[in-house]
Structures are given as structure tokens and as C-alpha cells.
């Protein structure tokens, strides 16, 4: 189980306290060390720091939307940036395409079950710390 391994840093950018709590619990049990930001400005500032094995991003955020964060990260031209997993309340297929086009590796639609979140993170997150 991941419990025995060293914890990996993961960034969560989500403003809904319930969703954040659920995601933090899942990530903790999957062996990650979670840093949580509630708004887009602080979220982007954190996202630009090196070392994340993945970023979990909500789209409807106060101050700066998740779309703008995706755009800003892509504009940084850091091809080696961490994988970004979008968790959104919008189910439309177009949104999904758009998010993937802006550099997200996966687009999950809320409501989403814990096992899908856990599996997606396991699938995409980097297994080691990259500085």
C-alpha cells in the first residue's frame, strides 16, 4: 500500500469545501501530501512552484478561473510541468475537449466517485519528486 512509501507532493486547487475535503481524504489515503488552495490566484502561484507530482484543478474558481490557470501554465512553456487533472461540474463534451487542448491530461465530471479519482491520480501522477 502507498502508506509505506514516502509521501508525494500534490496540489489541489478547489473552492468548494466539501469537494476539497473529499479529494484531500482520497489523496491522503493514496499516499500523497496535499497542498490546498481555494482560489485561482494563490492556486496559480503554487502551481508554478516545482516539484508537484500532479495538480488537481477545479474550473470555476474565485479570482482566477481554472481555464486561466491552464492557459497560464501552458504559456509558461514548461513542457515538463506536472500533469493537470481537471475536476469540473460541467459535463459538456466541448468543455472536455477544450480542457484537454489546453494541456489537461484528464477531465473528470462531478459528481465523481472516490475510486475513479484514486485510479485517475494513480494513472497520471508522477511517481517521484522532480525538482
Amino acid at each position: 500500500m502507498p502508506d509505506d512509501q514516502p509521501t508525494l507532493p500534490i496540489l489541489l486547487i478547489e473552492d468548494n469545501p466539501d469537494i476539497a475535503r473529499v479529494l484531500k481524504t482520497i489523496m491522503r489515503f493514496e499516499g500523497y501530501e496535499v497542498t490546498h488552495e481555494r482560489d485561482g490566484i494563490n492556486g496559480l502561484e503554487q502551481a508554478r512552484k516545482p516539484g508537484w507530482c500532479a495538480i488537481i484543478l477545479d474550473l470555476g474558481l474565485p479570482r482566477l478561473s481554472g481555464w486561466e490557470i491552464l492557459e497560464a501554465l501552458r504559456a509558461d512553456k514548461n513542457s515538463d510541468g506536472p500533469p493537470v487533472i481537471v475536476v469540473s461540474a460541467t459535463a459538456e463534451a466541448m468543455r472536455r475537449e477544450e480542457a484537454l487542448a489546453r494541456g489537461a491530461v484528464e477531465y473528470l465530471v462531478k459528481p465523481v466517485t472516490a475510486d475513479v479519482v484514486a485510479r485517475t491520480i494513480r494513472q497520471h501522477a508522477r511517481q517521484g519528486r522532480r525538482e
Partner: protein
């Protein structure tokens, strides 16, 4: 074909049009008037032909300025006060514009007139149709807004429940209890949303029924505050008012009103303090809910209560846009009133009154 029309046919066409039409030369003198235009000034055609546009007018400076602007190629619409032969004045709206020759040179001035009240009615009709278009747009959006609003508590229920199932044996007992409590809170949130939608539908169909009986308003307020504190996981609401305040009302509906106002205060005021004040006066009881968010712009106080209106905040526009509309309908169904204000020192304030004179129906 019009381009082959004789001058006589053109004259007949002008006469046929029941809208006042006239033409001025570049000096601003009448050269053409149809019958309707002559009637507007209350003079004969002969009296007016050759006379200046500003002659039978009480605000000649406006008329002269219009002529100058039309001569320069502009289309102008202004209110003109016509001096009628009986000494009275009539306000009409005149429109002047350039009459150009084939080379584009302004050679004369076209004019048309409209009764000011008709002009204003037309403006109102245009405004009304704009409002109807917006309402229609909002109706179309309602479905997607409602599904988004349903999705939020659903996501929370599914998240807590599936996390509980997946990691049941690793969650602390306190955590497990808390997860279940959050699931219950989210189902309450769903219930309130459905309740608001049903109430909206009843208001729309005129079938909103009140079940009036004597009740403790202060108790309803306390309970709504306690419930909000539990839901938000914060103690940010401060209450001022008497411990007892009995009057005749529909307890379930008034709970919905207070819930909607608190919810609104949280949505737009964030984590700042929220004040609830209950004032028991002889004829009426007043309840005020105040937040310390950014408030709203002057002139928006009435718009807030419109159906589907959703304010913007740094917490982004959320909700169905029905809450305050429902709130007002319920307050008014009790014979009360609700007003909104954005005081100078910030925040938004909602005050509603409930009259003391209501009678509970005989059991």
C-alpha cells in the same frame, strides 16, 4: 415603379401616409407638408408653407439647432413644444434628417413628427420586449443552471459516501460521523433547492397557498441561524432582537424567506459577519439581514428581486436566480414588504416587514 413616378404620384403618396411628413429647404422653411403634418401644428398648409420651422414652436432654439444639425447631414430627434392656435402647447417628437441629391449633397431636410406619448409608448414597448427577450433567455438557461445547482450537493453526497465505502476501515470514527453529517446536510440543501423550484412554479401559476397560524417568529429565526451555522461550519451570524415575538404567519414559508436571505448574505458576503435584527413594533414586525460583502450598485435594488437575476460577486454568480424573487412573493403574500439597500459603509441589507393584523383561518 417608384422611379418612374410623376410628381403628382409622389404628392399623392405623401398625402396617403397618415404619419406627419414634411420637408424644409436649407433655410429651414417648410416646402412640403402632408395633411397629417399640417394637422400636427393645428394650422392650414398655406399658413405653414414658406414659414420657418421654428415659427409655431415654443422652444425655437431647439428647432433651429435641429435644422442646423440636419443640414450638416445628421439625423436628429427632439421634443418640440408646438404653440397651438388656441394658446395651448402640445409636445411632439420631431425627427429631421438630410435630403440628399444623387451626388450626396444635402439639398433639403426631411422631417417627420410623432405624438410624444406615442413615442414614449414605443420606447416602453421596445424596453418591454427587451425584458421579455431576457426572460426568455433566462428560461432557456434555467435548466442548465438548475442541473448545475443540483450537481453541487450531489457531488458532495457522492464524494463523501464513496470515500467512506472505499476507505471505511482507515477513516477515524470521528471522521466517519462527520462524513455522514455532511451527507445529511447536502440532502437538506437538495431539499431546499427542490422546495424553491416548487414554490417558484406555484407563484408562476398563481397557486401559492399560505397556511397561516400563530407562531414564534424569533424561534423560526433562531432555528434558521443555527441551521445555517451548522451547514457553513461557521458562527458568523449575529442576532439582535427579542426572545419572543408571536404573530400569525406561514411558518414553513417564512423559514424559507429567512433561509434564502441568509444564503444570499453568505453567497455575496463571504466569510464576513452577517447581522440579523428582529424589531417588534406595534403594527409590524421587521426583520433585517445584513452582510458585509461588496454590496450592489445604486439603482439595482429592485432588479435584485427580479426572477432569474443573479448578481456577480468575487465568489462568481451562483444559484438559480429565483431565491429573492420567491422571497418577495412570500413576504407580499403575507401582506408585507421587502426592500434592499446597499449602505454607504458597504455590504447589502435586506429588510422585510410582516403585518400584525393577519388572522389565522378558523380550525
Amino acid at each position: 415603379m417608384m422611379r418612374d413616378a410623376t410628381p403628382e404620384q409622389c404628392r399623392q403618396l405623401l398625402e396617403f401616409i397618415d404619419q406627419p411628413i414634411f420637408a424644409l429647404n436649407l433655410e429651414g422653411e417648410y416646402v412640403i407638408l402632408n395633411a397629417a403634418a399640417a394637422a400636427v401644428r393645428g394650422r392650414t398648409r398655406q399658413d405653414q408653407l414658406g414659414s420657418p420651422y421654428s415659427r409655431f414652436v415654443r422652444n425655437p432654439e431647439v428647432a433651429d439647432a435641429m435644422v442646423a444639425r440636419a443640414r450638416a447631414g445628421e439625423v436628429v430627434t427632439e421634443k418640440i413644444e408646438v404653440a397651438l392656435p388656441n394658446g395651448q402647447a402640445q409636445v411632439i417628437v420631431d425627427r429631421l434628417g438630410p435630403w440628399r441629391d444623387d451626388d450626396g449633397q444635402v439639398v433639403a431636410i426631411w422631417g417627420s413628427a410623432m405624438d410624444a406619448s406615442v413615442y414614449e409608448t414605443l420606447g416602453e414597448v421596445q424596453q418591454e420586449s427587451q425584458v421579455l427577450r431576457e426572460l426568455d433567455e433566462a428560461r432557456k438557461n434555467l435548466l442548465s443552471i438548475v442541473s448545475h445547482e443540483l450537481r453541487t450537493p450531489l457531488a458532495s453526497i457522492q464524494g463523501y459516501a464513496s470515500t467512506y465505502l472505499l476507505y471505511e476501515d482507515r477513516l477515524e470514527p470521528e471522521e466517519r460521523r462527520d462524513f455522514v453529517r455532511r451527507i445529511v446536510d447536502s440532502t437538506l440543501q437538495l431539499e431546499e433547492l427542490v422546495d424553491n423550484l416548487l414554490t417558484a412554479s406555484r407563484i408562476e401559476h398563481g397557486t401559492l397557498e399560505m397556511s397561516l397560524r400563530p407562531a414564534q417568529l424569533s424561534k423560526i429565526v433562531f432555528e434558521a441561524i443555527a441551521e445555517a451555522h451548522q451547514r457553513w461550519d461557521s458562527e458568523q451570524i449575529e442576532f439582535t432582537g427579542p426572545e419572543r415575538c408571536e404573530l400569525v404567519l406561514d411558518p414553513r414559508r417564512i423559514r424559507q424567506v429567512i433561509h434564502n436571505l441568509l444564503d444570499n448574505a453568505k453567497k455575496y458576503g463571504g466569510d464576513g459577519p452577517i447581522e440579523v435584527v428582529l424589531e417588534d413594533q406595534e403594527q409590524k414586525v421587521w426583520v433585517t439581514v445584513r452582510d458585509h460583502g461588496p454590496g450592489f450598485a445604486e439603482g439595482y435594488a429592485d432588479r435584485l428581486f427580479e426572477r432569474f437575476y443573479r448578481g456577480r460577486s468575487e465568489f462568481t454568480a451562483k444559484g438559480t436566480g429565483l431565491g429573492l424573487w420567491i422571497t418577495r412573493a412570500i413576504v407580499e403574500a403575507h401582506g408585507g414588504r421587502i426592500v434592499a439597500a446597499s449602505p454607504g459603509d458597504g455590504g447589502a441589507l435586506f429588510t422585510f416587514s410582516l403585518p400584525r393584523g393577519l388572522q389565522a383561518p378558523e380550525a
